[in-house]
């Protein structure tokens, strides 16, 4: 009898041992998307190894597709009870994620006084999509602004000044018309400008255009939108006008197609993310320039990209580890490294004080162009039911670009749809 009890106790101890060991070595899971070219997974693997060497915390990085797919996977996994502890998701998804009740605010993950000070060290424009209900909900990470890349050879060929990129809409359209080249048969071999209007990207392009007209599309609480506004209509009319002027192709251009189009010389100017800079630098066989977006009167742009979010499903030890990892990723040296390897804007001014980034910019001044436009940047379109509002906007933008709706009609329809979607979020 005694024998048997000892045996039971011993086996119980053996069984329990691995779980104790597991509890001591915290292991966290981290989802990230890839929205730009380049060897992103290798970079993340490197960071995670470094982090483990420094802290003993094991981070399992999971590449989860593009932004939309990563969002879907993270939410599905969390609902299934096996979700990530932190993830890089679109900064603009804050309201929707809050609504799903899966987020842990930075207070919830244990941000102390030192941590609060650290949060103050980010560029204010990048924190625009992090604040709600008086709390912080995400840490800026792979942040960008919308910029224009232009083919300098094409500029020269068209007799344009490569050092003076258009600063107003009128100038941009005039330049794009000149840059559009046709062969003997009248077939266009090079388009002046291309901007993405496919699902997942149309709202970003349009957010930039609205700001260029001096218009913000939503309130900060994310409960109201202002599409049916003369300035929003004007912004869409300008976009559509590029095609009718013959400077841009009819219909919808895809985000993923813009980079090959540009590299092939099929588009002289593309509107893309700063995050694509390193990729273009590696692959372009011609000199190219990078410039801030022009505006109706002067340059205006929109920020974009992903922030690090923390989730409720993590236990206190995992939350602490996740926060530690987020701080590790945004340390000046690493923010500088990330910026150099991808082209994203380093999220903290301190990073630009590091020697490595200073040297890099000295040798490649284009890498510092986008940062200069942060003062004229606004946050992304972000509301509750974000994806539904995006879909409403995208459908109407696409209808307008296809010539089936006038800009005024498209914006009016978007507003009706958005009002319907946000009906239950409006506080009386």
């Amino acid at each position: 009898m005694l024998n048997r009890r000892t045996l039971l106790a011993a086996s119980a101890a053996t069984l329990a041992a691995p779980s104790i060991a597991r509890a001591q070595a915290t292991k966290i899971s981290f989802y990230y998307p890839i929205a730009v070219g380049g060897p992103i997974p290798a970079i993340f693997d490197g960071y995670c190894k470094e982090f483990q060497a420094a802290t003993g915390i094991e981070v399992a990085p999971v590449y989860a597709g593009n932004y939309g797919e990563t969002l879907t996977k993270a939410i599905t996994a969390i609902k299934g009870g096996n979700g990530p502890h932190l993830a890089v998701l679109l900064a603009a998804e804050m309201h929707s994620l809050q609504d799903l009740d899966i987020l842990a605010s930075l207070d919830d993950v244990g941000l102390d006084a030192a941590g609060k000070k650290w949060m103050e060290g980010f560029y204010p424009a990048f924190l625009a999509n992090s604040k709600a209900e008086g709390k912080l909900w995400s840490v800026p990470f792979q942040r960008s602004t919308s910029v224009m890349y232009f083919n300098k050879d094409a500029f020269k060929e068209a007799g344009l000044d490569t050092e003076k990129f258009p600063r107003t809409w009128a100038e941009l359209q005039a330049a794009a018309v000149k840059l559009t080249k046709k062969d003997a048969g009248g077939r266009v071999t090079r388009w002046g400008v291309k901007m993405a209007a496919d699902v997942g990207n149309a709202q970003w392009t349009f957010g930039g255009l609205a700001n260029q007209a001096g218009h913000i599309l939503m309130n900060e609480a994310g409960t109201e939108t202002y599409f049916n506004h003369p300035k929003a209509i004007e912004a869409l009319a300008f976009w559509r006008g590029l095609a009718t002027a013959g400077a841009a192709p009819e219909g919808v251009s895809n985000w993923g197609q813009l980079t090959p189009d540009f590299l092939e010389g099929n588009a002289a100017i593309i509107q893309h993310t700063t995050g694509n800079l390193t990729n273009l630098r590696t692959n372009a066989k011609f000199p190219f320039g990078i410039a801030g977006l022009p505006g109706k009167e002067g340059p205006r742009t929109v920020v974009g990209g992903g922030n690090i979010y923390f989730f409720k499903n993590a236990n206190p030890a995992e939350r602490a580890a996740a926060l530690k990892f987020a701080r590790f990723l945004t340390e000046p040296d690493r923010a500088a490294d990330w910026s150099m390897k991808t082209g994203y804007i380093a999220v903290r001014p301190e990073a630009y004080e590091t020697k490595t980034l200073k040297d890099y910019i000295a040798g490649f001044p284009a890498a510092d162009v986008a940062r200069g436009f942060l003062p004229v940047a606004v946050g992304e379109l972000s509301t509750f039911e974000n994806q539904k509002v995006y879909a409403a906007l995208t459908n109407n933008v696409q209808a307008c670009l296809n010539g089936t709706k006038t800009p005024a009609q498209a914006m009016a329809d978007t507003q009706v749809e958005a009002d319907r979607i946000l009906k239950s979020y409006k506080k009386a």
Binding site: R187, D198, P249, G251, N395, A399
Partner: protein
């Protein structure tokens, strides 16, 4: 007798369990969910009766998706079945390099749809994609195949037919090979023309295969949306949104459980109706040997 009943039930139990767990139970809960609002964070689902269905009737995207799916089905089903039959007849005759041609016809079926979609994405690229390139030689103009409302859905249909025809061809080919050669000899002796033989003998004998292929084609017309995900994501302006893709969007992009459940019930009812039509009406006219 009782013993046999128990035995019978025990024998079908494993299959039944799987079927209930993965087909009937989810279908039942989906129907129940379609009568509730979407639970969001702290707000639990609320019973709303047929309100979700009423909302669906006023949802323009639903009607667009339904219309798109009807067009998609009306083109892909006959096109892929007829093409499959033609291909099967072609490779059933003695032509040089027959094995090679058969393989070539069957290749699209072996490729995963995602890979197929990515290949076609290149074909459809405006200006320097394969189609525009080839058309360019003949003085063709630029086509934004996937970015234009008028060509996006036809482009999806072409991809689906290309992908499916080879698969259906295999069934037709098997049926043709199983056909006794003496029928042909007999017809030749009677002096029947080839067309007459095909219409009066081959086609009727292929009817069971045709029914099977048709059922599959109908299912695929509602099931095959992978290429939409890769190539257009339902755009431009919902021109390529098919019912199943809309369900996916509602469920996993908008997280609107009520809408997704309601759509699923509608699709289920639609497929049930089609199955009843095919087996009930068409099935009776098929001659089995």
């Amino acid at each position: 007798m009782r013993r046999e009943t128990v035995q019978g039930w025990l024998l079908i139990l494993p299959a039944l369990l799987l079927l209930v767990a993965f087909t009937h139970w989810p279908a039942a809960t989906t129907i129940i969910d379609s009568f509730y609002t979407t639970p969001k964070g702290s707000r639990p689902p609320r019973f709303v009766g047929f309100e979700n269905y009423a909302d669906l009737m006023t949802d323009p995207v639903f009607w667009t998706a339904l219309r798109n799916n009807a067009v998609y089905a009306l083109w892909t089903i006959p096109a892929s079945v007829i093409l499959a039959l033609v291909m099967a007849l072609a490779v059933n005759t003695a032509i040089p390099g027959r094995a090679l041609v058969r393989m070539a016809y069957f290749t699209p079926t072996m490729l995963p749809m995602i890979a197929v979609a990515n290949i076609w994405l290149f074909f459809f690229t405006p200006d320097y994609g394969l189609f525009d390139h080839v058309l360019g030689f003949f003085g063709g103009v630029r086509h934004n195949w996937l970015g234009d409302r008028d060509t996006a859905l036809p482009a999806m249909i072409v991809v689906a037919v290309w992908k499916e025809a080879g698969f259906f061809m295999i069934f037709y080919l098997a049926a043709l090979q199983a056909m006794p050669p003496d029928l042909k000899e007999c017809a030749a002796l009677e002096g029947s023309s080839r067309w007459n033989f095909f219409r009066r003998v081959t086609l009727p004998l292929l009817m069971p295969t045709t029914l099977f292929v048709l059922v599959n084609a109908v299912i695929n017309a509602f099931r095959l949306v992978d290429h939409v995900v890769v190539m257009t994501r339902g755009g431009p302006d919902n021109a390529t949104t098919l019912l199943l893709y809309y369900i996916y969007e509602a469920g996993f992009r908008f997280w609107d459980q009520a809408l997704a459940a309601t759509l699923t019930v509608v699709l289920l009812a639609l497929l049930g109706l089609l199955a009843w039509l095919q087996f009930g009406v068409l099935g009776k006219r098929v001659h089995y040997r």
